[in-house]
């Protein structure tokens, strides 16, 4: 764990979430995560099934590491990659965002209800379409 540096941009939760989502947005990176969700693996083994250079795969792995989704440790001479499930659980921030989203939407809904009540007391009983 201590091998993982505190990365810039990963300080705020939102930034970290964005990094996780960005990491998950790419099909190659999702495939890497899928592979690692079965078991940890050496970098070279992870790279093998992809029709791209080790260098290209390494770039994807670095993005995953920077996002905190994937961790790397050394076993002898091998670099072993594994999934940091905690980082994926961090996506839990979704709960907070979603709650805030709906609280705000419901505030707006209640504002419209008050407007409608006003319209109703001012205007005729039947709702006219096209009125704002």
């Amino acid at each position: 764990m201590s091998e993982i540096e505190a990365r810039k941009g990963a300080t705020s939760r939102t930034a970290r979430l964005d990094a996780v989502f960005a990491a998950l947005a790419d099909p190659t990176r999702r495939a890497i995560i899928e592979r690692l969700s079965r078991s940890e693996a050496r970098v070279t083994d992870v790279a093998k099934p992809f029709h791209m250079s080790l260098n290209a795969v390494s770039k994807h792995i670095r993005v995953l590491e920077a996002s905190g989704v994937v961790e790397r440790h050394k076993k002898g001479r091998d670099h072993i990659l594994s999934i940091n499930t905690r980082s994926l659980d961090e996506v839990d921030g979704w709960i907070e965002r979603t709650r805030r989203y709906w609280e705000e939407r419901l505030d707006a809904m209640e504002r419209v209800l008050r407007e409608l009540k006003k319209d109703h007391t001012l205007g005729p009983k039947d709702r006219k379409h096209g009125s704002r």
Binding site: I33, E34, L88, T98, M109, V112
Partner: protein, 147 residues
């Protein structure tokens, strides 16, 4: 209801609203009313809504400003005016992953208790990049809805 492995994260919001359930239900399902409060983007945003209010019917809310256009859309799973509305929901908030929203309206005298439940797939399923669990949830709900 949905339980066990297929259950992902759930957000629940409750609110006492000073209005009847019918009126609130209309706010959620009539395009001319939906556009007045559903868009989260302040300022000069052109908001258009459309919906086909029946199980399996589609709805969408398109919000466009000078710079960008965003869409929230989904499919109705259960339509039980004025007590319950269940729909799938996909948009920027959900990172364009399908989620499920249930709105329940319980009359409390002159007021209505609104209970909103927003669920999404477990992180593990998102990680694995497939939606099998989600398909099961939808199948289950489709069964419930058709009863």
């Amino acid at each position: 209801m949905v339980r066990g492995d297929t259950t992902g994260e759930i957000v629940q919001v409750r609110r006492r609203v000073k209005a009847g359930a019918e009126q609130i239900f209309d706010l959620w399902t009539k395009p001319d009313l939906m556009v007045r409060w559903m868009s989260p983007y302040p300022g000069a945003v052109d908001c258009k809504a459309s919906c086909d209010l029946r199980p399996g019917g589609h709805f969408s809310l398109v919000m466009s400003s000078a710079e960008a256009s965003r869409e929230v859309s989904g499919t109705y799973v259960q339509v039980d005016r004025p007590r319950k509305l269940v729909f799938t929901w996909i948009g920027p908030l959900t990172n364009n992953v399908n989620t499920l929203v249930t709105v329940e309206l319980n009359p409390r005298g002159d007021e209505t208790e609104l209970v909103l439940t927003h669920e999404r797939l477990p992180t593990s399923a998102i990680r694995e990049g497939h939606t099998m669990g989600w398909g099961n949830i939808l199948d289950h709900l489709a069964d419930v809805a058709s009863q």
